[in-house]
């Protein structure tokens, strides 16, 4: 039976390097997707994820286990990503009502060319949604988080996370037609 995250966290707290390594390997993909959803640049996302893991493990003693380790790590990753965007003056919170999708011409042409099929197109269009919509859809579809967990990660209420998810899905369906 696979060792749980909670068990790995306990072992990591005791200085078990293999437990630390296993936690990193389990959650790097998910943390990377969260970072990429925010910063939308692979190199920046890599840096965000590494910094998030470093911060998470430095603060491991403060992790009480009320949330899943994965959700806790994603919240740290999201905070880190928002911090990077703030520093680069690109981050701007938008209310749902005013949020408008990035025009298609803002999608990286190289990516669009590669992603000419339906699958790739859907992912590219997801990246064009307003921040909280794309994060809500990604965290629900890619990571299977509850709306309460999504709210914690993106800094919204559970209800706002649900609304952002359904707005995002509806918008994606419109764009895909």
């Amino acid at each position: 039976m696979e060792v749980t995250d909670a068990e790995l966290v306990e072992r990591a707290r005791s200085g078990d390097a293999r437990a630390l390594d296993e936690l990193v390997r389990r959650h790097t993909d998910a943390a990377f997707r969260v970072a990429l959803s925010y910063v939308r640049e692979e190199d920046t996302a890599r840096d965000v994820v590494q910094d998030a893991f470093l911060k998470a493990f430095r603060a491991l003693e403060t992790f009480r286990g009320d949330a899943a380790f994965k959700t806790w790590l994603m919240t740290i990753t999201a905070n880190e990503a928002r911090g990077v965007l703030r520093k680069t003056k690109r981050w701007k919170e938008q209310p749902i009502e005013e949020a408008a999708p990035v025009p298609d011409d803002k999608i990286d042409p190289a990516s669009a060319a590669v992603m000419s099929d339906e699958v790739g197109r859907a992912r590219a269009l997801l990246q064009s949604l307003p921040e909280k919509q794309r994060l809500s859809v990604s965290l629900r579809v890619d990571e299977g988080l509850s709306f309460r967990e999504i709210g914690a990660v993106i800094g919204s209420s559970e209800g706002a996370a649900r609304v952002n998810y359904f707005h995002g899905i509806r918008r994606l369906r419109e764009l895909m037609e």
């Binding site: 630390l20 790097t28 893991f53 859809v137 649900r162 369906r173």
Partner: protein, 173 residues
């Protein structure tokens, strides 16, 4: 069977697409009679199929960095070799403690030069004479304080500064 509506089913579609529902009967039966939810399930499946993964090697890089960081924090002398870049001197102080100490010293340096009037640039260390008030800040999490000031220093000035803080090669933190 409990009568299901679109709202309840739509919330479950991502889990259904992953096969994570213990009992998918309700969703399956609803999808069979609801074209809207069926179309939405297709979109969710398409998105799930394009889920990006982290670049190759990223987990290993992060693992090495985390283990090196943990080793430094605990004072261990044996961090993984991959975590230490060749040719670099390894500090025994974790970087976040270093920047906190650095800011304290830098702030002190600025204070001293201010109280003494115009500093003597022939004798003042580079790290003191180069600083401007705007170089010092404390971030929200307290981890990045002073980083811009350190980044502005030349290698020589930085090493002089670190030596004076006695944080290199076994010095006291």
């Amino acid at each position: 069977m409990i009568e299901s509506n679109c709202g309840e089913v739509r919330e479950l579609l991502p889990l259904h697409a992953e096969g994570a529902l213990a009992d998918p009967t309700e969703v399956v039966e609803h999808i069979a009679t609801c074209a809207e939810c069926g179309a939405e399930l297709e979109l969710v499946r398409v998105l799930a199929a394009s889920r990006p993964a982290a670049p190759d090697g990223l987990a290993s890089t992060i693992s090495a960095a985390v283990l090196a960081d943990a080793s430094l924090a605990s004072g261990s002398d044996t961090p993984p070799a991959a975590a230490v870049e060749p040719g670099r001197r390894r500090s025994v102080t974790p970087w976040w403690q270093l920047t906190a100490a650095a800011v304290a010293a830098l702030a002190l340096g600025v204070g001293v030069t201010s109280s003494l009037g115009t500093p003597d640039l022939d004798v003042a260390p580079e790290y003191a004479s180069e600083l401007e008030e705007g170089d010092l800040f404390v971030s929200g999490d307290g981890l990045l304080a002073g980083a811009p000031a350190l980044e502005a220093l030349s290698d020589e000035a930085l090493m002089q500064f670190l030596d004076e803080l006695q944080v290199i090669d076994g010095g006291a933190a």
